[in-house]
């Protein structure tokens, strides 16, 4: 079986898992109950998506690979998630922006993925895109609300953009294994949609920012090691146990 397909599926699985893990940190700590529920809900959707991708990857790899062995026993240099999704939650504005920038991309990606020639990926993209549409709607509304809210919320959004924008370029730089969807072709439409939302939010779209990359190839920021330490603790401490 093609190792490119495996790597690509793992890239999708890792990205959704790590973003789910980050969002779930909000559970019980959100700014208001309704939004606590919403961010946790998105976390759960993303976790469901990552499980689908891991299960598919495990079936491609064969042997004793499972969704759990892939999520819990691979190391930080093997993880292929986007750098964007491993960034810290920061404040609510930063979490919202991270979600919006990724969801807007994911929506376009999964639209294309539904046209690829792998039936499994098509089916998973078809299921996930319904959830993603909800995530885009929710997060874009919050970007607008915070951008065009108070002076404080506006300036916090500027800071969030400053923090996260440099990780957006990676979404459109294909990794060696990333041949199923031509991600570079999604960039213009993504930028157009983001520009529209930012305009409504009275936020500037940054120009000429140097883009960080490497996540897809297992070269992460220093944050991932800590995420995995926590995520994988139980499986590492009790190897081989069933839960």
């Amino acid at each position: 079986m093609s190792s490119r397909l495996i790597d690509y599926t793992l890239h999708l699985a890792d990205t959704t898992l790590i973003l789910s893990q980050r969002n779930s940190e909000w559970c019980g700590h959100g700014p208001i109950l309704e939004q606590d529920i919403a961010i946790t809900n998105i976390s759960l959707d993303l976790l469901g998506q990552s499980r689908n991708f891991y299960q598919y990857a495990a079936s491609l790899i064969g042997g004793d690979a499972t969704e759990d062995s892939l999520a819990y026993l691979r190391k930080e240099r093997e993880f292929k998630n986007l750098l964007l999704v491993e960034q810290a939650n920061g404040d609510w504005g930063q979490t919202i922006l991270r979600q919006y920038l990724y969801s807007q991309f994911q929506y376009l990606l999964f639209e294309k993925l539904q046209q690829c020639n792998d039936e499994q990926l098509i089916a998973m993209a078809a299921k996930s895109i319904k959830e993603t549409a909800y995530h885009v709607r929710w997060s874009s509304e919050w970007v607008i609300r915070l951008g065009d809210g108070t002076e404080e919320s506006h300036s916090r959004m500027l800071k969030a953009i400053d923090e996260l924008w440099r990780y957006t370029g990676e979404m459109f730089m294909p990794a060696g294994y990333e041949t199923i969807v031509e991600v570079s072709s999604l960039k213009n439409e993504w930028l157009q949609k983001v520009t529209n939302i930012f305009a409504e939010a009275t936020l500037p779209v940054p120009e000429k920012v140097f883009m960080q990359a490497g996540g897809k190839e297992g070269k992460h920021t220093e944050q991932l090691g800590f995420i995995l330490t926590e995520l994988q603790y139980m499986q590492r401490a009790y190897p081989g146990a069933q839960w």
């Binding site: 700590h29 208001i32 109950l33 891991y54 609300r145 919320s153 009790y238 146990a241 839960w243």
Partner: protein, 313 residues
């Protein structure tokens, strides 16, 4: 009609099992007791997210993680129902939350215990949710309509979680020696606090008599506690584990299990704020509220801008 007439009419309704609805006349004390109880119940759902939320990032498999997230999310939803039910009595959710954050309002003392291992997720599901369900099933017949209806909805979801909690322990009980020990340890730590969830002994319970008469409560603390013990003793056998009580024995005469004395000293200490996690739990809630202030303000400001734009258009 005089106040006495109103009171008599009210009690007749109660006696006839007619639900009391928000616009009906009710004694002040009935209103206050319900506000206190329903809002405490809502707070318990919210604070209760913390001990379990504590393990989301470390759940040992993706399936368990998904179950746990779904569960904690449901709890937030239960909190919302309950705040709505309490609001029908004329207190705003904001006021209630302020009372929680200031320490004026209470929440279930069980959530002041720490979740130290993964097995605690199972024990909380089985014992804590199990105790909550007995209480809530009773409250499905409580006399205040909005509360009773909230309970019907909540019970359906809650019993699902309880089965999942039990199943979590069942897997551990059939696992490695380390997992079995983890399972037993969690049961040991959660058993007595779960019994305390039913509140003080009937003889010490200040609100009990009036609450029974108004059918806010349908069973006493001790009745519910006994029912819980009888149930748990049978269930723990399936796990092949032990309940940490030497005095637990079948009483043929009563047709119930006798059990040992609860450490009431510990109970009152936790209620008064001196449990292992009282301080952390309240601080986590306060922090979320304070750090969320700018978000809520922004949402309000934006809504206001939109309103004036729509007016102008």
């Amino acid at each position: 009609m005089t106040v006495q007439d109103f009171e008599q009419l009210f009690q007749q309704k109660i006696d006839n099992e007619t639900k009391i609805e928000p616009k009906d006349w009710m004694p002040d004390a009935y209103r206050k007791t319900n506000i206190r109880q329903i809002s405490q119940h809502a707070h318990s759902e919210i604070v209760g997210m913390l001990p379990e939320g504590n393990w989301i990032s470390r759940a040992p498999s993706l399936k368990r993680k998904a179950i746990l997230i779904a569960k904690v999310q449901d709890e937030a939803g239960h909190g919302l129902y309950l705040y709505s039910a309490a609001e029908t009595l004329g207190m705003s959710r904001e006021e209630m939350i302020n009372d929680l954050n200031s320490g004026k309002a209470k929440y279930s003392s069980i959530f002041n215990y720490p979740t130290l291992t993964w097995a605690d997720m199972g024990a909380v599901g089985w014992l804590v949710d199990g105790a909550a369900i007995l209480n809530q099933v009773m409250l499905c017949r409580t006399s205040y309509g909005p509360y009773a209806r909230a309970m019907v909805r909540i019970c359906k979801e809650e019993s699902f979680h309880q089965r999942q909690g039990f199943e979590t322990l069942l897997v551990l009980s059939r696992g490695t020696d380390e997992q079995k020990a983890m399972c037993q340890d969690a049961i040991n730590r959660w058993w007595w606090p779960s019994l305390m969830m039913f509140g003080p002994r009937d003889s010490e319970s200040t609100n009990s008599d009036q609450s029974m008469k108004w059918k806010i409560k349908r069973k006493t603390n001790d009745e519910l506690r006994q029912q819980f013990v009888d149930m748990a003793v049978e269930q723990v056998k399936v796990l092949g584990m032990k309940l940490p009580d030497e005095k637990l024995t079948w009483n043929e005469e009563r047709k119930h299990y006798d059990f040992g004395e609860i450490d009431w000293n510990e109970f009152w200490n936790v209620v008064k704020g001196n449990g292992p996690c009282n301080k952390q739990r309240l601080e986590a809630r306060r922090k979320a509220h304070e750090e969320g202030q700018w978000v809520r303000e922004a949402a309000m400001a934006y809504a206001e801008k939109r309103r004036s734009k729509q007016k102008a258009a």
